[in-house]
């Protein structure tokens, strides 16, 4: 029963030059059950990435607490794997060495790690690319490596910070299917930050729309599309009436928020 719980989470940044305090996040409360798929959406500057970085343990909240499976989060840990927008791969290592990285740090015996690496490369669809240098891979393949590198460590939660932001439309769709497939096969809790409404709808069993100043959860949705996406092509889902309706609703919501920011500035 490992679930991710955030209680009264707040984060305030101090600009050292101007002395101005910015409330990046204020009173965030939510809990995720094991195996839930959460996507977080919001206009730029609403604190999505800050929230993710705090869950990952890279930032300490100024108030409130987070726990995973009842254990307080106090720093980075293997149980919370992270996938970055640009892969953050180690370009001096080959694909399999990149995937192997976490295992090597744990000093896993080589026979065991080789097997694991092979398995995960197969799952993400990179069989035969083990010895390729990562700088020779395309953007989509690099993200696959990043996914495998994260999954091979067996994390409880996978945190994704705009993982598909830098990819072209076609690759994006393929990767979305892959993420859904991984979600189903591994049953992991996944948190995805995105700025694409479509992606948030497709990849979110639950969806938070966040609002800025201070960063907070503005509205929460429970969506059926992710489960549907496991059975039928994502493109078909996009044509459903319900999908279109919610998309329009969220778009206008975010549009209003952006307007407010612009007007206020």
């Amino acid at each position: 029963m490992s679930n991710l719980v955030c209680e009264n989470l707040s984060m305030t940044f101090l600009n050292p030059q101007t002395g101005v305090k910015v409330e990046a996040l204020k009173n965030i409360n939510f809990s995720l059950k094991r195996g839930e798929l959460l996507s977080v959406l919001g206009p730029s500057g609403c604190g999505k990435t800050t929230l993710l970085n705090m869950i990952a343990g890279f930032l300490n909240p100024t108030a409130g607490s987070m726990s995973l499976g009842g254990k307080l989060i106090e720093g980075p840990g293997v149980e919370r794997g992270m996938v970055f927008q640009q892969g953050a791969l180690f370009e001096w290592l080959t694909v399999s060495k990149n995937v192997d990285f976490g295992l090597r740090m744990k000093k896993t015996p080589e026979s065991e790690s080789t097997q694991l690496v092979e398995k995960w490369l197969d799952i993400v669809g990179l069989q035969g690319f083990g010895d390729t240098p990562t700088y020779q891979l395309s953007g989509g393949m690099q993200q696959r490596v990043a996914l495998a590198r994260c999954l091979v460590n067996g994390p409880d939660v996978i945190l994704m910070d705009e993982p598909l932001g830098a990819l072209d439309a076609l690759t994006r769709e393929k990767m979305q299917s892959l993420i859904l497939k991984l979600w189903k096969e591994t049953g992991k809790t996944i948190v995805i930050i995105t700025h694409s409404v479509e992606e948030a709808l497709l990849l979110g069993e639950r969806l938070f729309v966040m609002a800025p100043r201070p960063g907070r959860i503005h509205k929460e949705y429970n969506l059926p599309f992710a489960s549907k996406g496991l059975k039928k092509p994502l493109r078909d889902i996009k044509h459903e009436a319900q999908y279109g309706k919610i998309r329009e609703e969220i778009l206008s919501m975010i549009w209003d928020m952006e307007e407010e920011i612009m007007g206020g500035a």
């Binding site: 970085n53 990952a56 343990g57 890279f58 980075p76 840990g77 293997v78 919370r80 794997g81 992270m82 970055f84 927008q85 640009q86 953050a88 180690f90 370009e91 001096w92 290592l93 990285f101 976490g102 090597r104 740090m105 744990k106 240098p133 990562t134 700088y135 020779q136 990043a146 590198r149 994260c150 460590n153």
Partner: protein, 642 residues
Amino acid sequence: MLSWLSQERGLIAAIIIVILFLCLTFSIFIGLKQTASREKDEVFGDPERTLGGWYWTLTGISTLLLLWFYFSWGMARAFFPETGNELCQIAKINSAIAPITAALPIESRYYKSTTLIRRNLEQLKTLEKSMPVTAFDVVEIRELQKIILQSKAIIEFFSNPTNQSLESKIALEEIGQGFDRLSETLQTGFKGLVPNQEAFAQPKWGTELTEIPLLPTTPKGVLFDQISEKARVLTETFLKTRNKSTAADTLISSTKELINQVKARNENSEFDEEKLLKRTSYVKAVERIFRRLDDGTIFPPSALDKLNVSVNDFFTAISVTKGNLNLIDRILVPGDGIVKSKTQCTEQGSGRWLPKPTDVVATFMTLANPDIDSGGGYKGSTLLWWKWIQIGDILGFFIPDFLIDMLPGEYGRHSESGVFQPTLKDRMLAVAQGDVYLGAIPMLDGHIWDSLFRVIVALFLGIGLGVPLGIYMGVSRFFKSFFDPIIELYRPVPPLAWAPLVLTIFGIQDDGKIFLLFMVAFAIMVISARTGASGTQLSKIRASHSLGASDRQILRYVILPNAMPEILTGIRISIGVCWGTLVAAEMLAGTTGIGFIENVARVVSNYELIWVTILIMGLLGLAFDILMRWVINKTIPWRGKG
């Protein structure tokens, strides 16, 4: 074989020059053709345009080498090997009659008499005006004025044609006729003249330390040589010829009398110091001018006209006899030609400081010869060779003696029967001091190796200490803030500015130089490693944290490899700077190394050797850089692709 090559370097140069010319024409032809065919589909400014183009490389290299051959007179020597010798004979004539040409308006605009008179009259005028009236009394002033007047009178006297001595008239006439005869001799030509055997035994042009063979080796040269001997006699007569007469002598001696009077008064009377100084310096100035006038070298304005015509005719005759040598001299011998000094003929101009390519190669071959006993190497050391070195010596170098002192046990002492009994500790001390024979291993040796060794050791130390410190400075506030001031203070000082100090403290042998280079490499490595480490992307660090890496593992497996491109660039820069500093440091002090060779060569003005060392340094620097480029391509292929 080698000595044959050395003797025939003119012929070899000729072959090379022909090949270079062919290469040049061929590569220009190909280049133009390629340019014409590519012009249509290439856009100006496209970086692709600079790729390839070996033919222009070939054009550049052949042009450079041809220019080198040309300005070093290599072409003249290759195709007209006798040029040097023949020009030397003419240089002999020029040097023999130099005093005569100096008196005539040949190399200058005026007769020497004219120049002499102009300058001295000017100085007399100045003296007249600047007479220190306070230092002399009225009578003396009048005396001094008289001296000046008489000096002018001497000039006037000598300038007047009616006063010219009969002896000098006759002598000048005879010298002129002498030159006319020499001109006639020149016109009869050099048929039937034969160089002697001794001349053929001379080393060829440029093959020995004496640049150009002195004795004539061609009939033409023999003629010029003979003429120079005769011209020398004429010069001797000219130097003895003075415009002197009894009347002139009277005038001169009376002036001298007056000067001596003033001088005597200066010496015998007591003046205060300041006054005495003014008096003596003024009288000295007056006397100096008088001395230039009293030796009868001033002739009347047209007294030397006839001689001038004869000498000019003589030069024309030389030029006619030179024939095609004139053309070679003018076209293939850029610079000031050949000059004869007391004992030898030397090249002047670019031929002097720019040795011929073949000579440079020959000098290099001599240096590269590992057999020191047969004249190879330089100053008792080979250029690059190997030798056996004892393992014991190496151990002795690395194991400090005090380490043995710290071991338990006692050193041995002598026994009651007066015999020393070494203990185990004594034997170990012998090892630490390098006194034990443990076999020998082959090791590189020579000037180049000495230089390389210094650079390599300093680089290893610089990298070994600089990279860890730099990495820590890139990630730790303490390390960065603590070491930054120290490094930033000493780094901007040019390494050579440290040299005097470092060489004093650590000695002029390897230690001092290695330390100096270490300082250079260390600063560069620290800074590049720091830049590389602090430039690690935050997301990579965060990713490794999430993957469960410890701080130390992140340092070793993420930050260090991430800094590799910067570190390797740092090494490349270090090598370049170290190499430059080393050569300069070796020029400052030391007994081996490339810089040392160049320093000695500089002192003895051995331009060939200087060029050899410059070429060696250039080639080694190039080799280092190519090696580093290869290493960089091999080790960090991801650079610029991340």
